[in-house]
């Protein structure tokens, strides 16, 4: 029996080559897209979920009500961890995590920069980063011990056993390698190449007990069987005993496993985060697979007249309906298996480029049972989904009707098929509008007036001897003609590293806790960064030595502070009085998608991490960089010269949105392609079934044009309905999507007009191809066959 089914199914496939190709290609594109997205989602969902005790690991967050709105953030005071350890016996392990910092490693003559951080010894007990060499109990117990990853060990020591080797860090302190970590997996947020014990920080006198300085991450692992609800209520008020400045600030434990996907907070509540993107694409994956299945259903039922006879004969020969359902389901399984095989080949081919596109190293684990089970599951599911409707539809034919030859149901589009076409095209239109709107939004933000000149602007981090030699370095850079202007700042112009609600000014409302961004700059900041000065002047230490306590405000902070005539006004910050010397036009400091926040640029009395340089446009960039490198080598010989271009760094802010936009575009194209494959098939069957009608009409004098119209009209009507359905849906969802951006486009009507028109034209081309063919056929031939 089974062999018989298979034989018939196979012969059917071979006999109706165009039908089979349409079906298989459509289905395999659907399966490919579905699988790729699922692989990506799987990767994202597995992010940082491999820690053995993950359900007991928490990130310490702060919550504070400012102006009636609750803010949540995850940087904590350095003193937080010892306090937790002392007061809360429920906590098993606790570790601080200093921010990722680049350090210079030197061994003999070798100099290698690596990014790593400073942690408490408990860190390796909390997170599962296994050691290849060294003991977890002792690797971080000595002040001058360092744990490095395998790859980094290879880089610095080659094939030599690294354990016990000495390295010099930042040209200052000698460290002994006590442990080697297995390389961190791709799916973790941590990126360190080495770890140094917290004692080193104390030794360097970088530790502090200031509860107002929230700058490090703190992680805890609870003991087993601790009731989390009780405990979190308990720890909420931790700051009461320690933090004089803000005793009411709440301490919140946030499950570490949720940080990657969810950690976006609004008013104290989790509102999602990356998970939304994942849900969106998961939805798209399901929809594309559904559309591919719809194609299959449509084509199969459209072909029903051809198979009606077979159903009738089989029934007369005694086939129960059940058997016929099995038979047709079996056929769709066969098709879905072939499609899956094809999809599999395509996936193997495109997986590297797709990985590249989403920026994640995706792979298929062929050895895993889950992979094979889900592959079989998908084939069965697709086969069932695609085959169920045709199977039920075909098996319900009455033999007496189909065998008499009075069976002509398929002449026009019947209702369920219409519904399916409408669903397909609605989705296509929604995706087109979404792509258009995402692209528009991205372009608008990319074209946004930055407020500073990002071209020919580079920055370097202050490291080694630069701090010591800064004055001379700056002089020589300017003299060399490679840089036209140089300024020292607290952070790169593309990243805001510091903010506060502690700034005070005359007339400030006591309850005003608006957060103000901080940038420090010693000299010529307006000139170097190319800011637009609205009032006052640039910092100029040469001419005005008091500029070391000068401050420049942006428009938004002038508005916030309510200064009518800002120049000369005094603001207090960090226990210093800063006098306003200028006002600059608002510029984008954080995310270009958001609105501009108030900002102060404080003078030379601040702290500095970065040097910005405006390159001389009269020379080539390569020349400028060579000159600057020479100067740097002079003043900071131990360190390799590393720099970043501001425009390059700025472009990185768009990477997430660019991926979204590219993926949306890609999926739209594929959806349209699949839908058109289906429409093409449907149109060809319809043209075939109406061949007699066309013949009669032609004999009676109809022109090719009228017949093409007649045959296309039905389909275009459906596309019209799809447009009507798609527009409100897509308007609703895209408005929601845009809500996330403070700086955004307004949706214009022509987006929908373009999407509708585009779909209509594509559908028309697809359908009319068949319609014209049918209309031009010789009527004598078509009528004779009856």
């Amino acid at each position: 029996m089974f062999r018989n089914y298979l034989k018939v199914a196979w012969r059917n496939l071979i006999r109706n080559k165009s039908f089979s190709v349409l079906n298989i290609v459509g289905l395999s594109i659907g399966l490919t897209v579905f699988t790729l997205i699922v692989l990506w989602i799987n990767f994202e969902l597995g992010f940082d979920r491999f820690h053995e005790n993950q359900e007991r690991i928490y990130e310490v967050n702060n919550q504070y009500a400012i102006e009636g709105e609750i803010w949540t953030w995850n940087s904590t005071p350095k003193a937080m961890a010892p306090a937790i350890k002392k007061d809360y016996p429920e906590v098993d392990r606790v570790s601080r995590y200093y921010y990722d910092t680049p350090f210079l490693f030197s061994v003999d003559e070798k100099r290698i920069k690596a990014t790593g951080t400073i942690v408490d010894p408990d860190f390796l007990h909390i997170f599962s980063f296994p050691l290849v060499q060294g003991s977890i109990e002792s690797v971080l117990s000595d002040v001058n011990s360092v744990v490095i990853t395998e790859t980094f060990a290879k880089k610095i020591f080659g094939d030599k056993d690294p354990i016990g080797e000495l390295v010099k860090i930042d040209n200052a302190d000698s460290f002994k390698v006590t442990g080697v970590l297995k390389d961190l997996p791709d799916n973790t947020d941590f990126t360190f190449e080495f770890l140094v014990p917290w004692d080193y920080l104390i030794q360097k006198d970088w530790d502090d007990n200031n509860w107002g300085n929230n700058s490090v991450a703190t992680y805890v692992k609870l003991k087993e069987n601790v009731d989390f609800n009780n405990f979190s209520a308990n720890i909420k008020t931790l700051r009461k005993n320690y933090d004089k400045g803000s005793p009411d600030m709440e301490t919140l434990l946030y499950p570490y496993s949720r940080t990657y996907l969810y950690s976006e907070f609004e008013n104290g509540k989790e509102i999602g985060g990356r998970i939304e993107l994942i849900r969106m694409f998961g939805f798209i994956a399901a929809i594309i697979l559904l559309i591919a299945c719809i194609n299959f259903m449509n084509l199969s039922t459209a072909r029903s007249e051809k198979r009606a006879k077979e159903v009738g004969v089989r029934k007369v020969m005694g086939a129960p309906k059940k058997y016929l359902i099995y038979q047709f389901l079996g056929e769709s399984m066969l098709i879905s298996s072939i499609a899956a095989l094809l999809a599999f080949v395509i996936i193997l081919l495109v997986l590297p480029s797709f990985s590249n596109l989403v920026g994640k190293e995706l792979s298929i684990d062929f050895t895993s049972k889950e992979f094979w089970l889900s592959a079989i599951g998908i084939i069965l599911f697709t086969g069932m989904l695609a085959g169920s409707y045709p199977a039920l539809y075909l098996s319900a034919f009455k033999p007496s009707a189909v065998l008499k030859g009075t069976f002509h149901k398929a002449n026009t589009l019947i209702t369920p098929r219409k519904v399916l076409v409408v669903v397909q095209f609605s989705v296509a239109i929604i995706l087109i509008t979404a792509t258009l709107i995402i692209t528009q939004q991205l372009e608008k933000v990319q074209d946004r007036q930055l407020g500073y000149a990002k071209d020919n602007l580079i920055y370097t981090f202050i490291e080694g001897d630069i701090e010591k030699n800064y004055g001379a370095l700056r002089e020589e850079l300017l003299k060399s003609g490679a840089a036209t202007s140089v300024t020292k700042t607290s952070s790169p112009i593309t990243e805001s590293w510091s903010n506060t609600w502690g700034i005070e000014w005359e007339g400030k409302n006591e309850n005003d806790k608006t957060i103000i961004l901080r940038l420090m700059a010693d000299d010529a900041v307006v000139k170097t960064l190319g800011l637009e000065l609205l009032e006052g002047r640039d910092m100029d230490l040469q001419k005005y030595p008091t500029d070391s306590t000068a401050v420049i405000l942006n428009e938004t902070s002038v508005a916030l502070m309510g200064f009518e005539d800002p120049i000369g006004k005094i603001v207090n910050d960090n226990g210093k009085k800063w006098h306003v010397i200028g006002v600059v036009k608002d510029f984008v400091f954080n995310s270009p998608f958001q609105k501009i926040e108030p900002l102060v640029i404080e003078g030379a009395k601040g702290w500095f991490n970065v040097v910005h340089m405006k390159l001389n446009e009269a020379n080539t960039t390569a020349n400028n960089l060579a000159t600057i490198e020479r100067v740097y080598k002079n003043y900071n010989p131990e360190y390799p010269f590393n720099y970043d271009f501001v425009d390059g760094e700025y472009a990185k802010k768009f990477s997430d949105q660019q991926i979204t936009s590219k993926l949306a575009g890609l999926f739209t194209l594929l959806t349209i392609l699949i839908s058109c494959l289906g429409l093409f098939g449907l149109a060809s069957y319809m043209a075939e079934n109406r061949i007699k009608e066309v013949g009669i009409r032609k004999v009676l004098g109809a022109s090719v044009g009228t017949i093409v119209t007649l045959l296309s009209k039905d389909f275009l009507k459906l596309v019209g309905i799809s447009i009507l359905i798609a527009i409100p849906v897509s308007w609703y969802y895209m408005s929601n999507w845009l809500e996330d951006f403070a700086f955004r486009i307004t949706i214009s009507w022509w987006v929908f007009a373009i999407a509708g028109l585009l779909t209509l034209v594509i559908a028309l081309i697809t359908v009319s191809f068949q319609a014209v063919k049918a209309a031009r056929a010789n009527p004598v031939k078509s009528l004779r066959t009856e």
């Binding site: 089989r314 007369v316 086939a319 009455k398 033999p399």
Partner: protein, 221 residues
């Protein structure tokens, strides 16, 4: 007695009016009869045949087949009944184009859940009997009309039915092919005692039967 129809009515509703396809049909068929149903187009010949073959339902009346009351049977039992006892032969043969001659013959046996070895034997037997062994691997489109109908008859016979229903079996054949098929029917009826009911337009073919039933506008005359 093989089957009995009592006061069978069948109608369709058209524009608020009943159009009768069959009107008060009474018919008794004994085993071993060879009956020809005749009548002009639209007189209800095929409908009557379909009712007898249980492919079509009727609206009123009673139908006994081998002392089972067909009109009270559920669909499933009805299909079991005709699967077991009735073979069909069609004007346009209705062989499955995707199956070879051999596979076409085998198909009804599949639905009777007959074991593979037994199926093979029955098919071989039938091929032999109809002298079409040489054609067993051909597809229907590779055969002439007469040969196709020969396969059609063989397929109807393979399940060893008591009754063969033939709806204009020679309608698409030339005179020589017709003759052959009718001779075959006659032989089957005579030598194997298979009951045959055929619908035909041709007086000549009708004459092969032992009894002629004439229909006009759904009524027996």
């Amino acid at each position: 007695m093989l089957l009995q129809l009592r006061n069978i009515f069948k109608w369709v509703q058209q524009g608020g009016q009943r159009i009768f396809l069959l009107k008060d049909i009474n018919l008794e068929v004994q085993e071993g009869e060879f009956i020809s149903i005749m009548g002009p187009s639209g007189s209800g010949k095929s409908t009557l045949l379909n009712v007898i073959g249980m492919l079509d339902t009727f609206d009123e009346g009673e139908y006994d087949f081998l002392s089972e009351s067909v009109h009270t049977l559920k669909e499933k039992y009805r299909s079991n009944l005709y699967k077991e006892y009735i073979g069909f032969v069609f004007q346009s043969y209705h062989l499955l184009d995707d199956l070879t001659v051999e596979e076409n013959l085998e198909m009804p046996l599949l639905y009777k859940k007959i074991k593979s070895s037994e199926r093979k034997a029955l098919v071989a037997d039938m091929l032999d009997r109809f002298s079409i062994v040489g054609k067993k691997d051909l597809f229907p489109t590779q055969l002439s009309g007469g040969q196709q109908q020969l396969v059609g008859v063989a397929r109807a016979l393979i399940g060893k039915p008591k009754l063969i229903l033939a709806d204009e079996p020679t309608g698409n054949l030339n005179s020589q092919q017709s003759e052959e098929i009718m001779q075959l029917f006659k032989k089957l009826n005579k030598e194997e005692g298979v009951t045959i009911i055929q619908v035909t337009h041709s007086e000549k073919n009708a004459a092969y039967g032992s009894r002629i039933i004439n229909l006009l506008d759904g009524r027996k005359i």
